[in-house]
């Protein structure tokens, strides 16, 4: 307790130094390991790598400033992604005039039979092209749906964690994911190469 520190005669400078060093160490241990997931998520929330880097940098700085609020180190990833979400909302606020128009929702249509991605490898040019299409289609989603896709597929959060990060009920998480995936299927079925071309 602060009063204890003062009453024990610990110098003010020592208290400050210990507090600062401890925060820096915690930042290295609890926040920096999530840098790449944060960057991957940011790349899918904003359209350019420069914006993504700015978003992540501001997120990390804010996380550092507020690190004392993180009580449970096990929750560090969800916590810092909540910070990212907050920072990204401000970004969208500033860029409000340039947000891409929402994708219209239509009846579900099947995707072309794509090569297997279950091993998460993109070996051929066609596979890489298709993945580029996925990225582009994700970026065209309206923000709430894009957030849901990013939190589920890029960050790998559960519905409950997403509910806390996005500050919406679990049922809304499920419906947003459902609609987002339908929009992606629609977008990809319009742009993906013909099935026969994908057999490499």
């Amino acid at each position: 307790m602060l009063a204890d520190r003062v009453s024990l005669g610990m110098s003010e400078a020592t208290v400050i130094d210990q507090s600062r060093d401890g925060r820096v160490q915690r930042f290295h241990e609890q926040i920096l390991p999530h840098l790449t997931p944060l960057y991957r998520a940011a790349l899918r929330l904003v359209s350019t790598s420069a914006d993504a880097e700015d978003l992540v940098q501001e997120t990390c700085l804010r996380a550092f400033q507020a690190l004392d609020q993180l009580k449970d180190p096990a929750a560090a990833k969800a916590w810092v992604f909540a910070v990212l979400r907050s920072v990204s909302l401000r970004h969208f606020e500033r860029e409000a005039g340039s947000i891409v128009a929402p994708v219209e929702l239509s009846e579900a249509r099947p995707l072309p039979q794509a090569p297997s991605f279950t091993n998460a490898a993109a070996d051929s040019p066609l596979q890489r092209a298709l993945i580029e299409e996925v990225r582009a289609a994700t970026l065209r989603l309206p923000r709430p749906y894009r957030e849901a896709i990013v939190m589920a597929h890029v960050a790998g959060f559960s519905y409950r964690e997403m509910s806390q990060i996005l500050e919406i009920p679990v049922g809304t998480v499920m419906s947003r994911l459902f609609r987002a995936r339908r929009m992606l299927r629609d977008a990809l079925s319009d742009t993906a190469p013909a099935p026969s071309k994908l057999v490499s």
Partner: protein, 290 residues
């Protein structure tokens, strides 16, 4: 399970959100139903592409370096106000005699006040640091409803007609609160609003402003005044005298009463603009006086 049930649950199945038993039942259905299996293959393909896309891209080394540089620069700046905060909080302990481990039913008051002071001092930077940069009360009200699920009354301007700079979500004593920042004459004024009341600790210094009990605390140069109104906690933090902080509290209370008394339902009421004239509270008295 029916095909309809299985197809509705495919997302949950692929997202690992089903129990073992539920997943087993879906799998059994898929084993014997070609139609559902084809539907699932489409879903699997999309999941696979999203996963393949998700694992690309590594954070650039320069980004990590930039962040560490900023953190290194941030520390001394942070330390300056943290030093102020530590000394102020220690003084608050001594002067106010408020214990952290009080047996009140709500969160302790010192973290409430110190958190508010920390957020207030942290917000004295450029306006773009705020989550919402807006002076429009209607827009601000919509933001608070969306972000915190509350529709509180708040003045559109400060005591001297200070304009609203914007707002952000903060955390006071573990509870989320909105911080509204007004441009003061010399220093900004923060009005925190929390969507829940906050019971006062025993023996807390008390004033009565416009018929409402308010609780002033001073942490160093920062004056804090808080009170409960309409199911919300209101808290002002500013580098100001107690009289000025109480004047702002009075403005807030009068603003709430005016809206509640002369307008329709809270959600339908337009925000009003205060006068630019300095108006001090009509009644300020110490606890126990008449």
């Amino acid at each position: 399970m029916t095909c309809r049930e299985v197809r509705r649950g495919l997302d949950l199945y692929l997202d690992d959100e089903l129990t073992v038993l539920e997943a087993s039942r879906v799998q059994q259905h898929l084993d014997r139903c070609d139609g559902c299996r084809k539907t699932m293959q489409v879903q699997v393909s999309l999941h696979g592409m999203l996963t393949a896309d998700a694992i690309r891209d590594e954070a650039p080394a320069r980004l990590r370096e930039r962040i560490l540089e900023r953190v290194a620069k941030e520390s001394p700046k942070r330390a300056a106000w943290l030093r102020h905060l530590i000394v102020s909080a220690a003084l608050a302990f001594l002067v106010c005699g408020i214990l952290l481990d009080s047996d009140t039913s709500g969160p302790p008051v010192v973290p409430l006040a110190t958190d508010a002071v920390a957020w207030h001092m942290d917000s004295r930077g450029p306006p773009h640091e705020l989550e919402l940069s807006a002076a429009d009360p209607a827009r601000l009200a919509g933001w608070m409803k969306e972000r915190l699920g509350m529709v509180p009354d708040f003045p559109a301007n400060g005591v001297r007609g200070d304009r609203m700079l914007g707002a952000r979500v903060t955390v006071l004593a573990t509870y989320r609160a909105a911080q509204l920042v007004y441009a003061g004459t010399d220093e900004p004024v923060s009005l925190f609003i929390m969507p829940r009341p906050f019971p006062p600790p025993p023996n807390a210094p008390e004033r009565v402003v416009e018929g409402v009990d308010v609780y002033p605390v001073r942490l160093g140069e920062i004056g804090v005044v808080w009170w409960n109104d309409g199911g919300h906690l209101y808290l002002i933090a500013a580098r100001a005298s107690e009289a000025d902080a109480l004047a702002f509290a009075a403005l807030c209370v009068r603003n709430s009463r005016m809206k509640q008394g002369t307008h329709g339902p809270r959600s339908a009421r337009p925000a009003i603009r205060s006068t630019h004239q300095v108006v001090f509270p009509g009644v300020i008295r110490a606890q126990g006086s008449s």
